[in-house]
Symmetry: C2
Subunit: 304 residues, 2 copies
């Protein structure tokens, strides 16, 4: 229903959201990102199983840019996290990305709230760290975890700039076998680098740790660190103010996305957009003028 485009579904969705407001906010929201190949699915499965072994109810939501083409990949997600998918304490749900320019689903947040109202204590939001989605994820979670490898070469190639500075925790995955020593070395290097970053107003000093998702090692340490973060930020009230700020930010985001979508749906705008984009790319006309031409078309229609 929350992903439906039907008007009546939308109205019902709004009512449901209002109704659940008193029941949300007790969860911990964890964003997990990392480029393909870093072992994200295996990590989430192992970490998720560790959490359910503690009796926690967890929900895993995915913001997957590729699902823009495939229209969601529920089956794919469930297959790649089979053990977790069959765990009665766990719920796995991929979210299709919306059609806005930014390319980020505006439904994931609503699904997250529903999961919280349904009693899930830990919400994991997974994203591929290559596009714009991780900024969106950062703006809806309490804790942001970045998965890396010890190689520090290949996976950096595809990674989006700025992600490292957003992380509350960097986990060097695949710290097993021959890779153990290199992972410890990478841990030290990243820890040194993080000290040079501007501090967050959460007063939390971002950490670096190692783990082996396959060998199920290092999972408790990760959870301890996350609990430490929660303790620190609830005490200094960053946790609460951050969520307030995120709520306000979300309101602004929805407005922006809707204004943009309304604009792009305009028949004359969408008809003229490709040619104007071509001219701007070629340097034939100033970007401002192209923008203003489209805006006059849009506003002219509205006023006429």
């Amino acid at each position: 229903m929350f992903e439906s485009s039907l008007e009546e579904d939308k109205i019902l969705a709004e009512k449901v959201l209002s109704g659940i407001m008193p029941h949300i906010g007790n969860s911990l929201r964890i964003g997990i990102t990392g480029v393909p190949g870093v072992g994200k699915s295996t990590f989430i499965e192992s970490f998720g199983k560790y959490l359910t072994s503690l009796g926690k109810r967890i929900a895993v939501l995915a913001i997957d840019p590729s699902s823009q083409k495939t229209k969601g990949s529920i089956l794919g997600d469930k297959t790649r996290m089979e053990a977790l998918a069959h765990d009665p304490l766990a719920y796995i749900r991929p979210s299709a990305t919306g059609a806005t320019l930014g390319g980020v689903s505006n439904k994931t947040r609503e699904v997250m709230l529903l999961c919280e109202a349904a009693g899930f204590e830990i919400i994991i939001i997974e994203t591929v760290g290559v596009g714009q989605s991780e900024t969106a994820v950062k703006s809806m979670v309490d804790f942001f975890l970045l998965l890396m490898l010890s190689g520090a070469g290949d996976e950096l190639q595809g990674m989006k700039k700025g992600i490292m500075e957003m992380a509350d925790l960097i986990v060097i995955n695949k710290a097993d076998g021959d890779n153990k020593l290199a992972s410890k070395k990478a841990q030290k290097e990243y820890q040194n680098a993080l000290h040079l970053f501007p501090p967050s107003d959460s007063e939390w000093q971002p950490r670096v740790t190692t783990c082996s998702a396959i060998e199920k090692e290092g999972l408790k340490e990760i959870w301890d660190l996350i609990e430490g973060f929660k303790h620190t930020t609830k005490k200094n009230r960053y946790f609460q103010t951050n969520r307030q700020r995120q709520n306000l930010h979300w309101m602004q985001e929805v407005i922006k996305q809707e204004l943009e979508a309304h604009f792009l749906r305009h028949p004359q705008v969408s008809a003229n957009l490709p040619e104007l984009e071509r001219q701007v790319l070629a340097g034939d006309i100033p970007a401002t003028n192209a923008a203003k031409a489209l805006l006059s078309i849009y506003k002219g229609e509205q006023e006429g």
Copy 2:
């Protein structure tokens, strides 16, 4: 004229922009950021004087968040860079920030194009590295320079996350007197840290260097590095494609800002906004519902 809100001025401005399109694009656009206290004005003055001593014509534009209150600080800027202000090869111009939510001027870019058409070869765009303006600056320059201090403590406090990963060059300023050794040490630490960052698609490996703006030391090295960047990125065509991408991005930005401004100017929207924001902050209503309430007010009026 470009900062005027009058309709006739806007139309004229559009015509002027179209007219100058063939004359732009030959400049080098350098963004310079750093938190207050890092010695930004002194650096730009010394570096600017070095460039004019090479016979270069330079323009210095400022995106200054504080000018939102003071409505521009031309006098202030000219006073703090006195030697440069009196240099016939230099032009110093602060830009007032616009009234959009993002808080970033959408006129700086136009003024930059005008400066290029007027024959300025190097455009320096200065911003305080504490808010959202540096992302806007990054999206309109070829080269992004971050000023830091060796202390690595105090100035990090105020710095915005993500800036370090945007930098093409980090300059440790105030590398003079007793501070020289500490600056060299900081240089090494930052250089190590930068190797752990995802690489830019410019194929340029970000550098760290030291300088003393007051003693006028290290300026040539900085200019050599910038010229090296220009050489590399013109050869691999990143320079050109980056500008094309920036043009397209700018078109999208202007559209977004105008749509937002039009929305916020709506009398019923602005009347209802504060109360809805309060309720969202308090967690009384879902962010999505507040957004949709405002959007119905806005659209209702347009269609009615």
